[in-house]
């Protein structure tokens, strides 16, 4: 009895050791490649919003974690600074709309020095497929309607969906999603306009972190207002 237990334990242990060795080897072999993929994804999105011609610094390295939960939705959000010949010219800010139809919507908003929107992209969301997911640039051009717009006052009434008297389209069947995105972009742009200097001056401290959340889908908790 004792003998067979010992034997079985040893066999199980042997399998565990071999399995762990295999997993560790693969992890070591793929780690660089995975990090590179995440960096490429980050750079691709950043370059889409701030074209490479407009900056000569490594966007993803010039990154600062900013604590402005009222404007950016989470306790901490990365901000990427674009500079040409060391002169600042644009920002790409990660921001979160906490009030989407099915939870938080994570966005990347690029603004220039005048506070004009250079572009907006959705990084992660859980909106209804076929209705709310029109905020994705792959599905609809809607997200491009922010390009070139500017927030004029803190409660700029043009920054609403048309149904609420603003200048942005809503989707048939889904108003909550665009409302949440517009409000988040507005807050972010307004915050950026009013904190431009300190955002560029903040020390770079989040180099090369992946832009989207954990791929396993564990949701970050939105900041509680």
């Amino acid at each position: 009895m004792l003998k067979s237990m010992r034997k079985n334990g040893l066999i199980l242990g042997g399998f565990a050791v071999v399995a762990t060795a295999l997993v560790v080897t693969t992890q070591v072999l793929t780690a660089d490649r995975i990090a590179e993929q995440q960096r490429n994804e980050l750079m691709r999105t950043l370059n889409e919003l701030i074209p490479p011609a407009l900056h000569d610094n490594d966007l993803y390295r010039d990154c600062a974690l900013i604590q402005a939960p009222e404007a950016l939705g989470l306790a901490e959000q990365p901000v990427y600074r674009s500079r040409l010949a060391s002169e600042p010219n644009a920002l790409a800010i990660r921001t979160t709309a906490p009030d989407g139809y099915s939870g938080a919507i994570h966005l990347l908003v690029a603004v220039n020095l005048q506070g004009q929107i250079k572009g907006v992209r959705v990084l992660q969301h859980r909106e209804t497929p076929g209705l709310g997911d029109k905020i994705e640039v792959q599905r609809d051009d809607w997200i491009l309607s922010f390009n070139g717009e500017r927030v004029r006052t803190e409660n700029d009434a043009r920054w609403r969906v048309r149904r609420d008297g603003g200048m942005f389209d809503q989707f048939t069947g889904a108003t909550i999603t665009p409302r949440a995105v517009i409000a988040a972009v507005q807050r972010t742009a307004w915050y950026a306009q009013n904190n431009m200097d300190s955002l560029f001056a903040a020390p770079a401290n989040c180099i090369g972190e992946p832009l989207a959340n954990d791929p396993l889908g564990r949701e970050e908790q939105p900041y509680e207002y």
Partner: protein
């Protein structure tokens, strides 16, 4: 020997199809079949794990005492899933992001441990590899059929996002069959997966029923008619 392979192929693809007959692995099956691309990606990942785990289980079957075979199978399967997950993360990043949580969930796909227990632990490694391949293929075909059904009804497209799986050249594979202002949401949402799956199973049973009826009728038909044009 070839009849053994024929039986295995017939079982995996039709008679004992893991998705349509054994009804195993329904969680990933229902969750990722929103598009053909996602379905194909998870199907291939599942097939790789099945073949790998079947071969390994078969090779070690004589050294593993009966009492601890289940934990050993679980270790083997979990290892293969992790390897596939890391590889997909490294080489098909977009698809990895799209399939997300469902890759680790392959571990919980009972079809895999089911084959380890029912077949691989009793047969040699090449038969087991073939069994894994056929079961995986059967599973993948059902995934793709369901994915196509839901993608056509829900988005009016086929192979949307194929570039995530196959690389940039596959972007042109996308076929826009038709477009509509109000997509059939039901097809994309989870209930659509259950309904689609129900129709697929019903379809299989209907075909089986007709086959059986024809077999039963065949001798009588022969006697009654001079000429029989076979359908099939």
């Amino acid at each position: 020997m070839s009849t053994e392979y024929q039986t295995l192929a017939n079982d995996g693809l039709w008679e004992n199809n893991p998705a349509l007959v054994q009804l195993l692995g329904l969680c990933p099956l229902l969750a990722v079949t929103g598009t053909v691309t996602n379905a194909l990606g998870l199907g291939i990942a599942t097939m790789l794990v099945l073949v790998g785990s079947n071969i390994t289980v078969s090779l070690v079957r004589n050294w593993v005492p009966n009492e601890i075979r289940i934990p050993v199978f679980v270790i083997v399967i979990a290892t293969f899933v992790t390897l596939v997950e890391l590889t997909m993360n490294a080489f098909t990043y977009g698809l990895f992001m799209a399939l997300g949580i469902f890759i680790p969930l392959i571990v919980t796909n009972c079809a895999i441990i089911g084959r380890a227990e029912a077949y691989a632990s009793k047969n040699n490694w090449y038969n087991s590899a073939f069994d894994g391949l056929m079961m995986g293929l059967g599973f993948t075909l059902v995934l793709v059929a369901l994915g196509a059904l839901r993608e056509i009804l829900g988005q009016g497209t086929l192979f949307a996002g194929a570039e995530l799986l196959l690389g940039e050249w596959a972007r042109d594979l996308k076929i826009q069959l038709f477009s509509f202002d109000y997509p059939l949401l039901l097809a994309i949402l989870p209930p659509g997966a259950f309904l689609g799956m129900g129709f697929l199973i019903a379809g299989k049973n209907w075909i089986d029923g007709r086959r059986k009826a024809k077999l039963a009728k065949a001798p009588i038909e022969k006697a009654q008619r001079a000429r029989v044009t076979t359908v099939n």
